[in-house]
Symmetry: C2
Subunit: 487 residues, 2 copies
């Protein structure tokens, strides 16, 4: 890894440590909110987080700091990465007027409450005016941030540096083939698997998960597993990275596969080079690349026959009901293909179709080619065509996700990048043999060398090319699915 040699960049990194320390604290405050915080602390905790975020912002926007960034002459890849990342941050803090950010916060705070109620009542019309405001806000946001070809590009770039409509259209060009593949695959599976209804003892499933993650390579000296309503990974620094799991009491694959998924996120952060510690590039580079790591471990490694073989002893020990099922039963349970209305319930075959739908609608909304009022009808028709199911009510359709209420328009496509790049790594890095041989340590070493250790030194598309020899190519995903589900 390059060393930081330019004095101005050393000075920037020194100043950045204040931001890094505040972000470390903000992460712990966030983790605690989801795990152990007493129930009546939310409001006060919100004030603290808001205040610390303002302190972060005022360091980024200090004229001396900006001038150091703008005048820096980086000499190597690490230095270029640092300046690139800082410029991106400064852009968001300086291009969006304070009044706009406040308006967005007010609107999303209200929209979240309205969305929750509208979803409960399955009443889209209740949410419609809020969503109209949000679409309008996000179109203005795109104008503030600037773009070359398409206003949606400005929003996509927030979540995935450099992502554009053009690249999304290429990525989703395989959607019709995936839809066909899905419709053929689902014929091979039952409507429901008996293991979905087996209740488990939480204490033992927790032990199983700890044991599986230990074998896969989780470093418990720098991480932990806790319980929260929604599983997530959070990185404080390089030496404290935590994941959470939710135990629902039955259908054990949900908790187990979620843990393996979060393991993928966590090890990405754990494997970043110590040379980048406390610098602006000590962090996974993008949502899409992050999601490729979690999906690689969850879907490619975890939902495989070899994974079931490897962990069968521990599974039987933790979940005695598995004595009534053979390896093949468990594998089919982990890879069950069945049309789902809800994105987060979707198997890996149809998942990208759920994303494609959202991408298409977001793009049309931002372009102005689709009215918010038309969304439910278009959503339902699209689901019918792509996946072969039609929501009976909007809570099972257009109202299901929180993202739009949060004004996170442009976020969804990163999930598809994740699925697709995971398959590309599988193919291009010859992972098949290693997975068959359960050589998790070698797999991790390769991912670390090719991707993890670089942090945010390279932009995501460049990192993907360096790691796999090719920019993102959706055909690897297609062949991965075909081999796994149709052979």
């Amino acid at each position: 890894m390059d060393q930081i040699i330019t004095p101005e960049i050393k000075e920037l990194v020194r100043r950045y440590k204040e931001i890094w320390s505040l972000n470390y604290a903000l992460s712990l405050l966030g983790w605690d909110m989801e795990t152990y915080m007493p129930p009546n602390s939310s409001k006060e905790r919100g004030e603290v987080r808001g205040n610390l975020r303002t302190q972060v912002q005022s360091i980024y926007t200090h004229p001396e700091f900006i001038s150091l960034v703008e005048n820096a002459k980086p000499q190597n890849d690490v230095e270029r990465g640092i300046i690139r990342v800082l410029k991106r941050q400064i852009k968001y803090y300086t291009k969006l007027p304070r009044e706009f950010i406040e308006e967005e916060e007010r609107t999303t705070t209200k929209a979240f409450q309205v969305w929750r109620e509208a979803k409960e009542k399955s009443d889209f019309q209740m949410f419609q005016p809020m969503l109209e405001d949000i679409v309008d806000l996000e179109r203005r946001k795109a104008d503030y941030l600037g773009y070359e070809d398409h206003p949606y590009d400005a929003l996509l770039d927030i979540y995935e540096e450099g992502l554009t409509v053009k690249r999304c259209d290429e990525m989703f060009s395989v959607a019709p083939q995936i839809s066909d593949l899905f419709k053929r695959a689902k014929e091979r599976y039952p409507d429901r698997h008996p293991l979905e209804d087996e209740p488990y003892d939480m204490v033992f499933l927790k032990r199983l998960i700890e044991s599986v993650l230990t074998v896969l390579g989780f470093d418990f000296s720098r991480g932990r597993i806790d319980v929260s309503p929604h599983p997530f990974t959070i990185e404080m620094g390089l030496y404290d990275i935590r994941i959470t799991v939710r135990y629902e009491g039955k259908d054990f694959r949900r908790a187990l596969m979620a843990a393996v998924h979060e393991f993928g996120h966590a090890t990405y952060e754990m494997n970043i080079s110590e040379d980048l510690w406390a610098t602006p590039v000590q962090r996974g580079v993008s949502m899409g690349v992050h999601e490729s790591q979690s999906r690689f471990w969850e879907n490619v490694v975890g939902r495989s026959r070899y994974f079931v073989e490897r962990f069968h002893d521990q599974m039987i020990m933790a979940l005695p009901f598995l004595r009534d099922y053979d390896l093949d039963d468990i594998y089919r349970y982990l890879t069950l293909v069945r049309p789902e209305l809800i994105r987060v319930e979707a198997d890996e075959v149809q998942y990208v179709l759920h994303i494609y739908l959202r991408y298409k609608l977001e793009k049309d909304l931002i372009e102005g080619n689709l009215k918010v009022s038309e969304l439910p009808q278009v959503w339902n028709d699209f689901m019918d065509r792509l996946i072969g199911v039609r929501p009976s009510k909007d809570s099972l359709g257009v109202l299901q996700d929180i993202h739009w209420a949060h004004a996170s328009i442009g976020y969804f496509p990163t999930y598809a990048i994740g699925s697709m790049f995971a398959a590309q790594l599988y193919e291009k890095l010859n992972m098949r043999n290693l997975i068959e041989n359960k050589d998790y340590s070698r797999i991790m070493t390769i991912l670390k060398e090719r991707i993890h250790k670089w942090g945010s030194v390279y932009p995501p598309d460049e990192l993907m090319k360096r790691a796999s020899g090719e920019y993102l190519n959706p055909n690897y995903f297609l062949s991965y699915l075909r081999d796994k589900y149709l052979s």
Copy 2:
């Protein structure tokens, strides 16, 4: 409660919110270190805490902030409290030169390691040169901070605002009587109580503690109980105050009484007026007053026959071995008097004698009337005279406490203030009846109105006088002990 009306003080409180938010985060970072932090995160966590502390310091020492404090004209008690507290903080950050603070940090970091090893090997000579450096440092610190009568006054004031050698000498004037009382009381007790050896089921003791604290009035919507190597209380803000307990597997009074003790600290912080939220006076005013609250609940309420009566049902349920003991057995177990070499093992009768010894030695060290090399001999003689036991080795004597290695000279006397003021409240606020009637809610209301809600608005001695009608008077403690242990 007075409102903040002076514009300059409003502005100060607005700026102080950055400090308050950073301190909130620092508290959570500290809590997490003792409870859930992964083992290899210590070094990184230390860097984060150091960086955030520097950010706090640079707000306090900003010339505009200092000038606002110095020129403020407070109009009422709350405003006067705010300015008083801020001036104290600024004093510590400005009177001690940066090089001195760094030297103190270096010395104590090393001293802590040396002390730990010296204690393990019971080798005072190993620790002696470090302690000599520390005494020297603390004498210089007193000079930097300034004092009127005695250099030790400057150090006492760090931990207890306004505390002096003169006041300590008054307080400890009852030491000979306490020593006599202790020697008579110990004759009434066996050397060991069989309940000390009863092992318990941790899961049930945890439930008992939660149940007892619920009855006493702990607000679980703004607090929690976790496990840590040493019990402590930590306040994030007004809506998140946590305690910890340690479960050793036998001798249940240790965990139970520690929980009641921490409950006393926690409710002090929880009961501070919301009008003081996020201001410099939203915090218990001093170590001594804090300790009076924890000791009031632990010793006066908890170690009483009425407490045993009130919680006997729950105790039997959680700890079935108690079916073989009657109420009186349990009460005697909670109040067992027996000479102890170790301060933290001491009963409430002899505890103040352990403190008196440390106070006397610290004072003589700072005065220069005692050499560090003479400490072990003087310590052992003193123990023999006061408590009637003599340490067989220095790990059971002069090496037992961490405080001196931390350069916390001046801290110990606050424990004695706690014991003594708890007894004064018992007498002067007519608590006897309420304790007999188990009216914990009324007790809490009185403590809240008289002490808690005021936060740091009044200095500790003034608060004690306002709360009890009298400045600290050690005779109440003497009569409390006499009634409880000799009648």
